[in-house]
């Protein structure tokens, strides 16, 4: 009898805020040992669904809910959070706040101690988690010393160690590089073999196919995902031959470290970036890509060697002064949105630089945000926020544009808009430096791919030569482009 009840079931689930529905009539179920992947772009309700599955909606977040969520026979939506957490655990999108201890061991112990378990049992579970999540060597390390990927593993381990039968992971792939995705798959496999039922939300299916037992598409995203695999129409042909391109940025035997006590993060980098090109900077997390990009806009100065931007030595100028020529679009728009309105936000740069607002106006138009001009930035969706960041950068009319992971938003419209901007900038003789994990996008949009690993340049050349070379992609730990994945047999890492 009990076997019939087993499973996390979603029946006719619909949810919305303030009268506006986010999704309606969802039906699926998860059995122990299965993984269900829920795909949807930003704003489609992934986090909302995750909250419904654990009872955070309606217990802590107000929303209009209809339908039922049942875990092993218990009604989630009408039970308290305390009760629900025993059955359905969750790793939030922002897993940082779920880490409470100063060290790895402490954090694992935290949730366990709250359960009132005996000291021996707590010890036992901690040891289990350390072994199964590859955390043993980090046992006494301070949490803030660990990389993002490790911290995520810790968050997952801490959620599982209290032994819920089901686990929801809200967009765990967001900040992972390809190697991280492979490790995440291992963890998913292990959890499944332990009999856990998993629900994983993601922006795209890529990377999760081998571990997904079922796939649920939110908000017509199936249609859009298919569209994404077709080539994006660019205004200018990519292979434009600019004979008169100048050197926009040069790196001359550049070494960089944060302080004398620490290792060099960048080693002996010598590069010349030409104007009128789009250069993709790729490589695993922690390899130094963002650091390298920050050397271009003067946020960091080289410890050894020289960086010249448009002929100027970066050591002589502050970042704010270089902002006149180099615009940096950061990865997390929430970090710097300060304006009361979209207009305030987009004119922040020009105001600081003493420029007029013509470029700001045009930037808003091009990014399709003109009608949101007077709205507060917080009311925008993630895709729109990213577009706003880019518009703010374009408003300063830079010679060089740096984009840090522009594809994280995964909004098809935004990606197309970005691709169009890139080709326009190239036609005007400007330079675009794009840091990305997304090999498909790099293939479509960039003229040159530079791969960084361990602080050194390990590959530099034509996108097709690098990204369609199976061995190279595997050795460098890059995300295989869709073209490669179609013909390759999945290798279990």
């Amino acid at each position: 009898m009990e076997a019939l009840n087993r499973g996390l079931k979603v029946v006719g689930l619909g949810c919305g805020y303030g009268g506006k529905p986010v999704f309606k009539n969802l039906n699926f179920s998860v059995r122990p040992g299965e993984a269900v992947v829920v795909i949807g772009p930003s704003g489609s309700g992934k986090t909302t669904l995750a909250y419904c599955l654990t009872g955070i909606i309606p217990n802590r977040v107000k929303a209009e809910v209809e339908g039922r969520v049942v875990a092993d026979g218990a009604d989630i939506l009408s039970s308290s959070l305390r009760e629900n957490v025993k059955r359905v655990g969750i790793v939030l999108q922002n897993y940082e706040v779920q880490i409470f201890g100063l060290t790895v061991e402490e954090d694992l112990a935290f949730g366990l101690e709250n359960l009132g378990l005996g000291e021996e049992e707590v010890e036992r579970r901690i040891e289990w988690a350390l072994d199964n999540f590859g955390l043993r060597e980090y046992r006494s390390r301070h949490v803030h010393e660990l990389s993002g990927g490790l911290r995520q593993r810790l968050a997952i381990a801490s959620a599982i160690v209290t032994a819920p039968r089901y686990l929801v992971m809200d967009d765990p792939m967001m900040n992972l590089d390809w190697r991280g995705v492979i490790k995440l798959r291992e963890i998913i496999r292990k959890l499944k073999s332990e009999g856990k039922g998993l629900v994983i939300t993601a922006r795209r299916l890529k990377g999760l196919e081998p571990v997904a037992n079922k796939i649920v598409w939110l908000d017509g995203s199936r249609r859009r995902a298919l569209v994404g695999s077709q080539p994006i129409e660019l205004e200018d042909p990519k292979g434009k031959n600019l004979n008169d391109s100048r050197i926009a940025v040069s790196f001359d035997e550049v070494w960089f470290r944060y302080s004398k006590a620490r290792d060099y993060v960048l080693r002996d980098i010598t590069l010349k970036l030409e104007s009128g090109r789009c250069i993709a900077l790729m490589g695993p997390n922690g390899s130094g890509k963002t650091t390298l990009a920050k050397l271009v806009n003067g946020l960091h100065k080289p410890s050894r060697g020289r960086v010249k931007v448009l002929g100027m030595d970066t050591r002589r100028l502050t970042a704010a002064q270089l902002a006149r020529y180099v615009a940096f679009v950061f990865q997390d728009p929430d970090k710097h949105l300060i304006g009361d309105t979209v207009w305030d936000e987009v004119t922040f740069g020009p105001r600081n630089l003493g420029l007029g607002f013509e470029y700001a106006e045009r930037a808003l138009e091009v990014m399709g945000l003109m009608d949101r001009r007077d709205d507060p930035p917080q009311s925008l969706s993630m895709g729109e926020k990213i577009r706003l960041s880019i518009a703010s950068a374009l408003a300063m009319n830079p010679e060089i544009l740096i984009l840090d992971e522009p594809t994280t938003g995964q909004d098809e419209e935004t990606l197309e808009a970005i691709a169009r901007i890139v080709s326009k900038l190239k036609a005007l003789g400007k330079t675009v430096l794009m840091i990305t994990h997304d090999s498909d996008y790099a293939l479509k949009v960039s003229d040159r791919v530079i791969v960084i690993e361990g602080g050194a340049v390990v590959a530099d050349g034509d996108p097709e030569e690098i990204l369609l070379n199976e061995d190279l992609v595997r050795d460098l730990g890059l995300e295989p482009p869709t073209a490669l994945m179609k013909r390759a047999v999945e290798v279990t890492a």
């Binding site: 802590r60 706040v97 949730g111 709250n114 009132g116 707590v122 502050t318």
Partner: protein, 227 residues
């Protein structure tokens, strides 16, 4: 160990020691600089101006000070004494901050009967110091990249320029606090629960005993005139 450090900290501040004894203790403490040497050294370096000021100030101004017990000593001797004492306190503090684990801190404080709520908040703050610091740096970089000059201009202008950095930081911190509250509920957190208390180990007991004895001796010697 953290427990013992708290005791050490407390007693050093209380006593009035003779210069010679102080110097000896200082030497002994610096030998015990094991882990976190870098952190302590950097901390001390930034304290040098403070020490210099203390030294000079006390050397010349002691006659007007509130603490009157310097009979016999004069001028630079007082300065040296004060600077050394400050140095000791700093050393102990730095070592403490660098080596204590929040859980030990919490347990130590619990033994002193400070409510669990306060102790937990303290440990959580420690854990999130780094996250807030990271956020601060990220926001600063983002705004600097948009032309915001942060270290130039008059004092007033500088303060004004920091607003675009502080506003997002505050907003983020508040959002984070809300998420933290949610996360705590998800971990079945309860202020009422009495956590598993670990027994005081032998090493701790010995150290506490030793420090207590030292305190007692010093107190007897200086305050009571015995020994």
């Amino acid at each position: 160990m953290g427990f013992a450090s708290i005791v050490a900290l407390a007693f050093i501040c209380k006593d009035i020691l003779v210069i010679g004894l102080l110097a000896a203790v200082a030497a002994a403490t610096s030998l015990f600089l094991s882990s976190e040497r870098e952190f302590v050294r950097t901390g001390l370096k930034s304290m040098i101006p403070l020490l210099a000021v203390a030294f000079l100030l006390w050397s010349f101004a002691y006659k007007w000070s509130i603490f009157q017990q310097y009979g016999g000593y004069s001028g630079f001797e007082v300065g040296v004494f004060m600077a050394l004492r400050l140095f000791l306190i700093l050393l102990a503090s730095l070592n403490f901050v660098a080596s204590v684990k929040p859980s030990e801190l919490v347990k130590g404080l619990e033994a002193f009967r400070i409510p669990y709520r306060a102790a937990f908040l303290l440990s959580l703050t420690l854990r999130h110091v780094y996250t807030v610091a990271d956020d601060y740096r990220a926001i600063k970089e983002a705004q600097m990249s948009r032309g915001l000059e942060l270290d130039k201009g008059s004092l007033l202008k500088r303060i004004k320029n920091y607003v675009p950095v502080m506003t997002p930081l505050l907003v983020r911190s508040i959002e984070k606090a809300e998420e933290l509250a949610l996360a705590m509920e998800l971990k079945n957190f309860s202020f009422k629960r009495r956590r598993v208390a670990s027994r005081l180990k032998l090493m701790d007991a010995i150290l506490i005993g030793a420090f207590a004895a030292a305190v007692a001796l010093a107190a007897l010697h200086y305050l009571v005139g015995v020994l």
